[in-house]
């Protein structure tokens, strides 16, 4: 796994970190020097080291979101050197390793920038807008009672695979952060298409897409212009095809659903 720094020497780095007291305060980029960072560290471990340094100096540590630190929860964020989740494709920030950087580098670290993702403190943003899109329709109705047999409903393998791919979205918001339009269409399309493809999702199919798109617009996200930054930066590789499917679902539902 050779990166930019294959010789495993500890690195000294200059960090430019967005500091902001709370959602109302104005923020600014602060510069910090950090020493002896091992290339084996993850980016978040490097942030931990920075925070220990800051604590020793009596400076308020940098607030940043994280949870699982293994690429599955979608909680970590960070716009690193102009890219969502940093320079490596297909990874979350917790899975980004410091070997992707070199000794002497300057690293600029900013929060996700989008009106619907207000900064709470430093690098933490409020991404609950995505929850509300999900709540607007990202569910299915199931009967309670006896446990159904596994594989009772036959689903073609290709469809099951596509639906599963869409279902891998971890709701991190990198798609919004990377998009010039601040659009949440990749996220919404992953949630819509995943259920639209499966038999279990048919009951609410039309209402779901109408409500989720309405919520997405209401939250103030932008409109997709098929740029593709979202899919390129998505840590789990949600494909742009899902947005075409979202459009198809939405246009179809608008003209044929019973909701007037």
């Amino acid at each position: 796994m050779a990166g930019n720094n294959p010789n495993s020497k500890p690195m000294n780095l200059t960090l430019k970190v967005w500091r902001q007291k709370n959602s109302k305060a104005a923020g600014n980029l602060e510069t910090y020097q950090i020493k002896d960072i091992s290339p084996e560290m993850s980016f978040l471990e490097m942030m931990d080291v920075l925070n220990e340094d800051l604590l020793l100096k009596g400076i308020d540590p940098v607030a940043f979101d994280h949870d699982c630190r293994e690429g599955i929860c979608g909680m970590c964020s960070l716009y690193i050197n102009g890219r969502a989740h940093g320079p490596e494709r297909g990874t979350t920030t917790c899975q980004l390793h410091m070997r992707k950087f070199s000794d002497g580098d300057t690293i600029t670290i900013e929060p996700w920038r989008a009106g619907p993702f207000p900064v709470l403190k430093d690098l933490c943003t409020d991404r609950s807008a995505l929850d509300r899109i999900q709540q607007a329709g990202g569910y299915i109705s199931v009967n309670t009672g006896g446990v159904p047999d596994a594989n009772e409903i036959p689903i073609p393998k290709t469809i099951a695979d596509k639906a599963f791919d869409a279902a891998t979205c971890i709701q991190c918001g990198a798609c919004v952060a990377a998009c010039k339009n601040g659009s949440a269409m990749l996220f919404t399309s992953a949630k819509v298409s995943q259920l639209a493809m499966l038999p279990q999702g048919q009951v609410e199919r039309k209402t779901r897409v109408e409500n989720m798109v309405a919520q997405m617009d209401k939250e103030g996200f932008g409109a997709c212009t098929n740029i593709g930054s979202c899919a390129a930066e998505c840590p789990v590789g949600i494909s742009l095809e899902n947005i075409a499917m979202l459009n198809r679902e939405y246009i179809g539902a608008s003209f044929t659903s019973e909701n007037v």
Binding site: G82, R83, E110, G222, A223, T225, N226, G228, L246
Partner: protein, 229 residues
């Protein structure tokens, strides 16, 4: 709000209008280009003048002209509404951003490219359409009938170097606009399939080069033939 206005004021509904009108404008480009190829006939402009006369008087063409104007108005209006809304989504910009690492320039600058096309369009319409319809070009007899001599208006305009430059720049902007726009419109319409999408993308790239190149060839041809040589 009725379901209809709700649909067409949603983000996807507006995109749908941009895509439908955009593809309609593409069909107009084909007709316009094929018709204008008469300029290259080398018959002193006879066929071009007859063709122009037909286009200005045929009732079907005149009706389509209204549809075309509506197509432009909707395309531009909806595209501008979307572009302005999208710009307002990120009130605080990134201090350091590298979009070039994840996307194409043309796809990120559709609003800018569209605006360049609009400016070009205004100049173009003022010079040719306005003068053809409301101006008083010289008359020229072709096979016994008098026709407006629009051919000479075109040829003389293309003797001015700066006019040729405006045309070439306008067509470059159109080329980039279509390089992203053509296949993007199909995506917006939800028409995405592994059997057809690669062909649509290839055709879109072909279209975005050949059509603007065809238009740009006209000013360049007359400028090089009459002024340079």
């Amino acid at each position: 709000m009725s379901w209809f206005s709700k649909t067409f004021s949603s983000s996807i509904g507006r995109k749908l209008l941009v895509a439908v009108t955009g593809l309609f404008l593409c069909s107009f480009l084909v007709v316009h280009l094929v018709g204008n190829l008469q300029l290259f006939k080398g018959d002193g402009g006879a066929s071009f003048n007859i063709y122009s006369h037909f286009m200005a008087t045929n009732p079907l063409i005149r009706t389509m002209e209204i549809v075309l104007v509506l197509g432009f108005v909707f395309h531009i209006y909806e595209a501008l509404v979307l572009t302005r809304r999208n710009k307002s989504v990120r009130p605080v910009q990134y201090a350091y951003n590298r979009p070039q690492d994840n996307s194409n320039w043309s796809s990120r600058n559709m609003g800018l490219l569209g605006t360049v096309i609009l400016v070009f369009l205004i100049i173009h319409l003022y010079n040719f359409f306005w003068r053809a319809r409301f101006g008083e070009p010289n008359m020229i007899p072709i096979e016994g009938t008098d026709y407006d001599d629009l051919y000479s208006v075109v040829v003389q305009s293309f003797h001015l170097w700066w006019y040729v430059l405006i045309y070439v720049l306008g067509q470059i902007a159109l080329g980039y606009h279509l390089y992203h726009g053509f296949s993007s419109a199909f995506h917006t319409l939800g028409l995405n399939h592994k059997k057809y999408t690669p062909a649509i993308q290839k055709f879109g790239a072909f279209f975005s080069i050949v059509v603007p190149a065809g238009f740009a060839a006209m000013p360049l041809y007359f400028f090089i033939k009459d002024v340079v040589l």
